[in-house]
């Protein structure tokens, strides 16, 4: 199946439609909530939470004995929340730093989860197969009810986001000020974190434990490059996330042997790379262009100032000098000379140059202007 076929099938085929819709909604909600994680400098929290959710899935299965995805996700949610609050406990109560706390909880919970999974695999219960899909996710196992669950959770997220918009925003940018205004910062904080956990848990079935953190970060990091406004950033992140979901699903469906999760992550990574390079205000490309342009301007000014310096010693400012005179001066290049001619600061006559009246005036005011601006 190639991409074209995929897009023609996506509206008619039940499985494809469900998966595409599921990954799109997932991308949107993780992008939305990921914006908060990125701005709150909690980017790696997502990684820790998604790993910490694993034992919850195993325990939920051990307790219920069934593979109902809602029960398993509830287990994942609880264990993710325990992990999150333990991380907080470690950071606030001991002198261990946040990176240690994250890595610790991540690896310990995941290891414990793996112990339980291998333990379950040895059990004579035939029902256990397929629990390991939560490691890397399998979008193909999505059914309509899963998509409904995602849609409902996304709706709740949106509602809460709009309801507490002002509080979320102010907490993001100035936590101390929020406290002095009398907001219950602890409550808002827990609310945001819980929703981040919820979004991560939702994605486990599709993208898996290992790659979930990228789903949270990548759309938000890409969106951050295009705007300085929180609302625009969240919208963009949701959009990027949804697109990565759809494109990732399309690519993985059109090839054999491609699991959806990694492809979605790679598509999101392409979005990030594109944004890093081509964003107009922050992007690396334009930054480099601006840098080169500034350097050229500076060299132009240097050459002009040097010429002015020479011209000053003569009574006639337009007295011609040889170009060779400029050779032992570093700012000079043939191009800058050409530019000066274009700007009508200098006239060239064979191998001789002379300053024009405007050129002399500009050069004279080149630095005086700046100093007056500085003062």
């Amino acid at each position: 199946m190639d991409l074209q076929e995929y897009f023609s099938l996506v509206f008619s085929d039940y499985t494809l439609r469900t998966i595409t819709l599921g990954t799109a909604i997932l991308g949107a909600v993780t992008g939305m909530l990921g914006s908060f994680a990125v701005l709150r400098k909690q980017s790696l929290l997502g990684d820790a939470i998604s790993h910490a959710a694993l034992p919850g899935i195993a325990i939920a299965f051990l307790l219920s004995g069934a593979k109902d995805s809602n029960t398993l996700l509830l287990g994942a949610l609880i264990s993710g929340l325990i992990g999150t609050f333990w991380i907080r406990g470690i950071i606030t109560k001991t002198h261990l730093k946040s990176d240690t706390a994250l890595g610790l909880i991540l690896s310990l919970f995941f290891g414990f989860g793996m112990l339980l999974l291998t333990f379950i695999q040895k059990q004579p219960n035939a029902n256990q197969a397929g629990l390991d899909k939560y490691l890397f996710g399998q979008a193909a196992t999505l059914v309509e009810s899963d998509v409904w669950l995602m849609a409902i959770v996304t709706g709740i997220c949106l509602f809460v986001l709009l309801l507490f918009w002002k509080e979320f925003k102010i907490l993001l940018f100035d936590a101390d000020y929020t406290k002095t205004l009398g907001f219950n910062t602890k409550f808002i904080d827990i609310l945001i974190t819980s929703f981040i956990v919820l979004a991560i848990v939702l994605g486990l079935q599709t993208v898996g434990v290992v790659l979930m953190s990228a789903m949270l970060l990548a759309p938000a990091a890409a969106a951050r490059q295009w705007t300085n406004s929180l609302s625009v950033m969240i919208l963009l992140a949701a959009f990027f996330g949804a697109f990565s979901g759809v494109f990732g699903t399309a690519i993985s469906a059109s090839q054999n042997n491609l699991s959806t999760g990694p492809v979605i992550v790679l598509v999101a990574a392409v979005f990030v790379a594109f944004s890093f390079i081509f964003s107009p205000s922050r992007g690396l490309l334009f930054k480099q262009i601006r840098f080169i342009k500034n350097r050229r301007d500076l060299e132009l000014h240097k050459t002009l100032a040097f010429m002015h310096h020479i011209a000053e010693t003569h009574e006639d400012i337009s007295h011609p000098h040889t170009i060779k005179l400029l050779n032992n001066f570093q700012g000079f290049t043939r191009k800058t000379l050409q530019k000066l001619v274009e700007k009508d600061f200098v006239t060239l006559n064979g191998s001789m140059w002379s300053l024009t009246k405007t050129g002399f005036e500009t050069a004279k005011n080149l630095y005086t202007k700046q100093t007056t601006e500085d003062e």
């Binding site: 990125v38 400098k41 909690q42 980017s43 790696l44 997502g46 990684d47 790993h51 406990g89 470690i90 109560k93 001991t94 002198h95 261990l96 730093k97 990176d99 240690t100 994250l102 890595g103 610790l104 991540l106 690896s107 310990l108 919970f109 995941f110 290891g111 414990f112 989860g113 793996m114 112990l115 339980l116 999974l117 291998t118 333990f119 390991d132 490691l135 890397f136 290992v210 790659l211 953190s213 990228a214 949270l216 970060l217 990548a218 990091a221 951050r224 490059q225 042997n257 491609l258 699991s259 999760g261 990694p262 492809v263 992550v265 790679l266 990574a269 990030v272 890093f276 922050r282 690396l284």
Partner: protein, 386 residues
């Protein structure tokens, strides 16, 4: 115990030691998450190496994977330097992307590669003794044992050779640079050792356990001591302890050895986290509670010192004026009575001579912040222990 069991425990212990040494420095340098990133992003390196060598234990594969690890670090640092995103976001972006490339490479070549993502993530210690190293036909032991042994030797050698440099650059980068050790070289040296250890160990214990073995013992040790040498020894001890106890736990449960070792690490950390003498949660909470009480006591004594009129010193007045709840007021009164700082006579509280002196001293301490006068108070009061 048969020889395979001994070999497994030996390999696990060596891995634990080899991980604990770089792990201690990673935790101290606040770079713990880098080890997580490396452990994931070496996957494409391993896969490419495996395509070339078709042997998971080949040195070329280890070198290729270690190079991928260092590329990860460089990439993360490059993204951080552009200032486009915060540092932790850079880590979170790089390793899932590299890991995805690895997973896709495995999936696309699933037919001719006997390499399983699960195996890379989890490893299987139980099979380690079956892969023997044969030198001219003579069996000299399991391959993993030799690999991790060599890595451990190199790590210990580097540690002994550069201990001073590592120590200085970990705690004071500026000083290290001014003394002439390049912090960059030490940084990349440490990163290389971490990458090589991760790669060498992943085959035996899997990528996640490597992270656990690096971070958990060091973090546990850090809660117990602030001495670098002691911390190194303690983390090695915790690592080996959980490796061996984890093996037997897995044996009893018939489950993954690496998962079980991680669980043991978790249990040890939990115990230390709760009960560590001065930095454990219970100790910290007790100290905070005592400090709160002592601040109240001091406020109360100051109030008594400032007011001589009887009305202000009536027991009931405490609640009205200083606005304390009943319980707390009683607590504070009891504490003050126990220390002979006040006497209560007909519901009127007054300072004793000792209480008066104490209050003056405490005020002096708060104003001047000089320790000398209150040395003897430190034994009784947490507040003055700094």
């Amino acid at each position: 115990m048969n020889s395979a069991q001994i070999e497994i425990q030996l390999i696990a212990s060596l891995v634990a030691i080899a991980c604990a040494i770089p792990g201690t420095f990673l935790v101290l340098r606040k770079m713990a998450m880098i080890s997580d990133a490396i452990s994931h992003s070496i996957l494409p390196g391993i896969v490419i190496g495996f395509f070339i060598t078709h042997d998971l234990n080949s040195p070329l594969l280890i070198i290729l994977a270690a190079i991928t690890g260092i590329i990860t670090v460089i990439l993360v640092e490059y993204i951080q330097k552009t200032g486009l995103v915060k540092e932790d976001t850079a880590i979170g972006l790089v390793f899932p992307a590299l890991f995805s490339i690895g997973v896709i490479m495995i999936a696309k070549n699933a037919n001719d590669v006997h390499l399983d993502v699960d195996a890379v993530l989890l490893g299987e210690l139980a099979f380690a003794p079956f892969d023997r190293l044969l030198i001219s036909g003579v069996d000299v032991g399991p391959k993993s044992l030799w690999i991790i042994g060599v890595i451990l030797l190199i790590t210990v050698g580097l540690l002994l050779a550069f201990f001073k440099e590592l120590k200085v650059s970990t705690f004071d980068k500026g000083l290290a640079a001014s003394l002439g050790f390049s912090p960059a070289i030490i940084h990349y040296g440490l990163m290389s050792v971490s990458s090589i250890t991760t790669v060498g160990a992943f085959d035996a214990v899997g990528a996640i356990l490597v992270v656990a073995l690096m971070i958990a013992p060091a973090a546990t040790a850090y809660l117990l001591t602030t001495d670098l040498k002691k911390m190194l020894w303690l983390s090695i001890g915790f690592g080996v302890l959980s490796a061996i106890s984890g093996y037997w736990f897995a044996h009893w449960l018939d489950a993954s050895i690496s998962g079980s070792i991680t669980t043991m690490l978790g249990i040890i950390f939990l115990i230390v986290y709760l009960f560590a003498p001065s930095k454990g949660v219970i100790a910290v909470m007790y100290r905070e509670k005592q400090q709160r009480k002592e601040v109240s006591l001091l406020t109360f004594l100051l109030h008594l010192k400032n007011h001589t009129e009887e009305r202000e010193r009536h027991v009931n007045h405490l609640r009205e004026h200083i606005n304390w709840q009943k319980v707390r007021a009683k607590n504070v009164l009891d504490l003050a009575l126990k220390n002979n700082m006040i006497i209560i006579d007909k519901q009127i509280v007054s300072l004793t001579k000792k209480g008066d002196e104490f209050t003056s001293q405490a005020i002096d301490y708060i104003i001047t912040n000089e320790d000398a006068q209150i040395e003897d108070m430190k034994d009784d009061f947490f507040l003055f222990r700094g």
